[in-house]
């Protein structure tokens, strides 16, 4: 049970239960507004019946030619609403709009190479690793025993405009690029 609705500027007053969680970063106002003022249709929230926010997604559309795609910048769900498929619904919407409205070739997202739970989840959603980006995250994460924390996997999922699945590859984990090679 959740309401899917647009992310509104005033939601910044109400997202504490999501953002106080350690894994969700709270950025300056300009970060959120730079998304809302350009890609409002790729930003939405899931709201519980009592008005509490459960999770949200912020995304954008970018790239040239066959690189034109939807990008998941942030997707997050409050701890008390995890394991309910909220994240999946948010990503579904972003994929749908990227496909139908923006006519992108694929959707992509970045995830820490050490975040196995998340990687597995995205694989279940149909994403696969396209490449590994060295030192994508400027800082080490919160995990305890991993030295590859700063690297990210760029994971992709082709959309209907890419029936030949040209935007993905099977050996993505072995393709390593520097952080300056990605947008």
């Amino acid at each position: 049970m959740s309401i899917l609705r647009p992310f509104r500027a005033t939601d910044l007053f109400r997202f504490n239960n999501i953002n106080l969680d350690i894994w969700t970063e709270t950025y300056g106002i300009t970060f959120y507004f730079s998304y809302l003022s350009r890609w409002p249709d790729l930003c939405c929230v899931q709201e519980a019946q009592d008005g509490k926010l459960m999770g949200y997604i912020l995304g954008k559309a970018e790239g040239l030619g066959t690189e034109w795609h939807g990008h998941v910048t942030a997707v997050t769900v409050a701890p008390e609403y995890r394991r309910l498929g909220i994240g999946k619904k948010l990503i579904d919407l972003l994929e749908f709009v990227s496909d139908e409205k923006y006519k992108g070739y694929f959707v992509d997202l970045y995830v820490r190479c050490t975040n196995e739970v998340a990687i597995k989840m995205y694989e279940n959603f149909g994403y696969s690793v396209f490449r590994r980006v060295r030192e994508y995250y400027g800082s080490l994460g919160m995990g305890r025993d991993s030295k590859d924390e700063e690297d990210a996997f760029d994971m992709r999922k082709p959309l209907s405009r890419d029936p030949g699945r040209r935007s993905v590859r099977s050996n993505g984990r072995e393709i390593i690029v520097g952080v300056h090679d990605v947008s």
Partner: protein, 940 residues
């Protein structure tokens, strides 16, 4: 630009870009030496100076550049940043308008002028410019700019109501005359629908949305879809929408809760659409409800554990049916709740989901309770979440009869026991994860707090602190545990520990607006600013950063949304900007800052004048309360107040009324002490005056507003704050005539200001020419001085009464927050007295104004104040010494015995918490006590 010049100017830009503002200034000076009239360089220097906070120097350059009426792009851009930094938006508009007038064919300048107006909400001018641009350039974008500005103008509270329909009609005509249809983009369609909705042309609006393109747009644009739902409601097409929802749920597998709401609305429409439904209507509703329940049951079965929408919708439907008296089965609600629990009890949100649906009574409640009890188990990790949900749901339905101290104590012990037993389940988790047993500790903590409420025995708060600290150490990322601890430490008089937990929550950016209330509410009570400890002062400053970013950055995105034609976002960003700019918490913090500052600094004209101007601005604002209290977990039964309500510091939360009272107190005090009268104030102002809100209250003369006492405002004060308010208002009423008589005339003041200005290089005050008759404030007065009266009783008795109040607490409960509250308010009264008497301190002022009687009257009040405050200070220090002794620690440990005995968690841990708590308490009591001595010394 010649290449030599380019070579000279590039370093300036580079320096500015990298934030090396000092080198930017140097680079500018180098060029200006050779070309003193280079306007671009002047503008860039002004910008660097603004960034260096050298406002006065930059103002001179800024005015020079503006006087040259610039049209050059580089100059305009630099000046845009300068003027924004100085808050001079109206000058910015004037600058762009001027440039646009000189180059009326420039699209760029037209846009900039439009956007400058947008940033300050000048919708009328914005609309005129957009219309002009559209005529000139024939670009649809400008047409929509014009339409949307018209719409915003129509909705602006300052627009006369009779003008509204005219503006809306105009907007409609504009859209419908264009050749490009509005459905060329979702955001244009959005604007079109909005205009039609405002004009109540619902059919036309819906017609647009039901075209093929309209439907496709609603599929991918949630904002358009939201408008569609709104229109359906306005048209009353509830049943039709219900049918559509059913189809979407069943066929398209849409699980958006909004569809379920439509389905339920339709099921009950026969009985909810009329005030007194007939029997046929009821029968029809029952039929439709039955059908809907069947649909939902089928969907719920299909979805299984994947989605809880249908199962919850069943519960909601039965709840609504019952409210409308069309439910057919008295035990259906319970059966559905039990089914729901059986299915989703392994989810954390099961408790929140069920809360509204399980408010059973009598027999049904008994059955529900025994069902829950049968589900209780903590054997395995999988059981744990279910067990937690059982305990939470059982607690939720406890009646006041079941909330005796004995039963609550038994429950608290039970929660602690289960918590400790469940801890091993999370042992292997990394410390970045939340512990699965956390909520059991929260339940225990809240139960101990309820015990404190029931018995008034502080030892229960010790138990709460012990178990929660223990849990916090095991689940370092749990901000919810910290939230409880923050409240509990305030109640225990250990504010520094509360602040510690708050800081560990890493509250930042916009969260400081919604959450800083946790530690900054009445922070002056806990601040040791008098001793030079600026912890709370800087916490206020840090938490206020967000308001600066808001006023500097947010409006940029309003203009960016115009540029990107994302009209659907504009109103929300405007609302956001307004809510943050006029945030209640912002100004509550401001008041606390003023209160702490007064104890910390010397009281002089600079402080008085600056605060006066700022507080007066605040007084004209219409405030919004953005504070988030819902974040504080609540597991108390629905029959008693929530945890938040139980632990509110001083039992009352300051709101707009509280703010207004303190604004009145300080504006009045500063107004008396200050030489600034309004005519002078205007000339000393640098930025624009903020637009006062449209509150009719703002039209009443200031002094009348300040004197008004309102019941609803005073209700937000504690009894002691009320006494302080009475004291402050009687004081200013008593002293006003003498201040008005002795205040130097404005002419003398402006002459002095002008003189000061000539002495230092900087900004020549606007429009100031010293009046010829100025004679340095010592002009002979025509009137006789007002007769000096004795201090009114409220003033002369205040300190004595505070002594009595303080003594009662010191000899009674010794509740630390209460002691601090009384002590700091008494000190505050003394400081207000000092502010209002500082003018008469020099004997020459008394003599010149023939107010000799004042001196002994002041002396009497002051002597009493000093005497009482000295006594309070000594007493506080004494209590402080006693509060961190071994006996007190032992008492703490003894009190949390339950927690220890059951758990076996170690004595040393509790000792640690006890030591921290008693030390923190000692620190603040002693600090405030010594602070009073310092304040008395400062103002001897």
């Amino acid at each position: 630009m010649s290449s030599t010049l380019d070579r000279q100017i590039r370093p300036i830009y580079d320096a500015l870009e990298t934030g090396s503002n000092k080198s930017a200034v140097l680079a500018c000076n180098k060029v200006l030496k050779k070309q003193p009239n280079n306007v671009l360089v002047k503008a860039l220097k002004a910008l660097a100076l603004v960034k260096l906070q050298k406002v006065e120097e930059s103002l001179v350059l800024c005015d020079e550049v503006l006087a040259s009426k610039p049209v050059d792009d580089g100059v305009l851009t630099a000046m845009m940043h300068v003027l924004r930094g100085l808050g001079r938006h109206n000058d910015m508009i004037a600058m762009f308008e001027n440039a646009y007038k000189q180059q009326p064919t420039s699209e760029e300048l037209g846009q900039q002028t439009f956007l400058a107006n947008v940033r300050v909400g000048n919708w009328k001018s914005a609309q005129q410019i957009a219309t002009k641009m559209n005529k000139q350039l024939r670009e649809d974008r400008f047409l929509y700019w014009s339409v949307f500005s018209t719409l915003l103008q129509a909705n602006d509270p300052s627009t006369p109501p009779e003008l509204q329909p005219v503006l809306l009609k105009l907007a409609q005509r504009l859209i419908e005359t264009t050749s490009v249809p509005s459905y060329s983009s979702p955001d244009r369609l959005y604007v079109h629908i909005l205009v039609l909705r405002e004009l109540k042309l619902y059919d036309e609006a819906l017609a647009l949305l039901t075209t093929e393109i309209g439907q496709a747009i609603c599929e991918t644009s949630l904002v358009c879809e939201e408008l569609r739902r709104d229109l359906i409601h306005l048209k009353g097409l509830i049943k039709e929408e219900g049918d559509r929802a059913e189809q979407r749920i069943v066929e398209k597998k849409d699980r958006n809760w909004l569809e379920f709401i439509s389905l339920l609305d339709a099921a009950l429409w026969d009985v909810t659409s009329v005030p007194e439904p007939s029997d046929e209507a009821k029968a029809a509703a029952k039929e439709r409800i039955k059908h809907t329940q069947e649909v939902l049951a089928k969907v719920a079965e299909e979805d299984g554990l994947k989605d809880r929408s249908a199962a919850l919708a069943s519960l909601d439907l039965e709840k609504r049916a019952r409210a409308q008296d069309v439910s057919t089965d008295p035990s259906l609600a319970r059966t559905l709740a039990e089914n729901y629990f059986s299915k989703f009890s392994s989810k954390a949100c099961c408790y929140e989901d069920l809360q509204p649906y399980v408010l059973f009574e009598g027999d049904e409640l008994a059955k529900w309770t025994s069902f829950l009890e049968s589900q209780r188990s903590f054997e395995t990790l999988a059981d744990l979440q279910r067990g937690i949900n059982v305990l939470k749901l059982l607690r939720w339905n406890l009646t006041t009869d079941e909330l005796t101290p004995e039963l609550e104590l038994a429950r608290a012990k039970d929660y602690v026991k289960e918590y400790l037993a469940a801890l091993p389940f999370g042992k292997s988790l990394p410390d970045t994860e939340l512990q699965p047993a956390d909520d059991l500790a929260l339940l225990a903590g809240e139960t101990y707090v309820n015990l404190w409420k029931l018995t008034n025995d502080q030892s229960h708060l010790f138990s709460a602190a012990s178990i929660l600290e223990y849990a916090s150490a095991r689940s370092k990322q749990s901000y919810r545990i910290r939230l409880l601890l923050i409240r509990i430490y305030h109640l225990l008089g250990a504010p520094s520990l509360a602040l510690e937990h708050y800081r560990l929550m890493n509250v930042k950016q916009v969260q400081t607006d919604t959450l800083s209330h946790l530690v900054l509410t009445r922070a002056a009570t806990f601040s040791l600013s008098a001793l030079g400890d600026i912890t709370y002062l800087s916490e206020c400053m840090d938490s206020s950063q967000i308001y600066m970013s808001n006023s500097q950055e947010t409006s940029e995105f309003i203009s960016r949304a115009f540029q990107m034609e994302k009209y659907s976002q504009i109103e929300d960003i405007i609302v956001f900007e307004d809510r943050l700019d006029n945030s209640l918490q912002r100004d509550l913090m401001k008041i606390e800052h003023v209160r702490m500052r007064l104890a910390h600094e010397q009281i002089n004209a600079d402080l008085v004048d600056m605060e006066l101007i700022e507080l007066k601005f605040i007084f004209d604002r219409l405030h919004h309360d953005n504070r988030d209290f819902s974040i504080i977990p609540n597991y108390q039964p629905h029959s008693i107040p929530s945890f938040n309500e139980q632990t509110l510091p001083f039992g009352k939360i300051p709101g707009i009324g509280w703010l207004t009272v303190f604004l009145k107190i300080y504006i009045k005090a500063f107004q008396l002490a200050s030489d600034l009268v309004e005519s002078v104030e205007d000339k000393l102002l640098i930025g624009d005056r903020p637009k006062p809100s449209n509150d009719p209250e703002n039209k009443i003369p200031l002094n009348e507003r300040l004197a008004k006492k309102k019941e609803e405002e005073m209700e937000e004060l504690t009894p002691d704050e009320l006494a302080f308010y009475e004291f402050a208002s009687a004081l200013s009423e008593w002293l006003a005539p003498y201040h008005d008589y002795a205040r130097p005339p404005p002419s003398a003041l402006l002459a002095e200001a002008a003189k000061q200005n000539e002495l230092k290089p900087g900004h020549p005050l606007r429009n100031i020419t010293p009046p010829p008759d100025a004679t340095n404030g010592s002009s002979k007065k025509d009137e006789e001085p007002p007769t000096v009266k004795e201090a009114p009783e409220v003033v002369s008795k205040f300190f004595e009464e505070m002594r009595t109040r303080f003594k009662a607490v010191a000899e009674g409960s010794q509740e630390p927050t209460e002691l601090l509250h009384l002590a700091t308010l008494t000190q505050e009264a003394f400081l207000v007295f000092t502010i209002e008497t500082v003018r008469f301190k020099p004997a020459s002022v008394i003599k010149q104004n023939k107010l000799n009687g004042l001196t002994p009257a002041f002396k009497e009040v002051r002597t009493k104040a000093v005497e009482v405050l000295t006594e309070i200070s000594n007493e506080l220090i004494k209590i402080a010494e006693q509060s961190a002794t071994r006996e007190k620690r032992d008492a703490f440990i003894a009190a949390s015995k339950d927690v220890q005995a059951e758990s076996g968690f170690d004595h040393d841990f509790v000792l640690g918490v006890a030591r921290k708590t008693t030390d923190a308490k000692k620190h603040v009591l002693e600090g405030v006590g010594k602070g009073i001595q310092k304040v008395l010394k400062n103002h001897a």
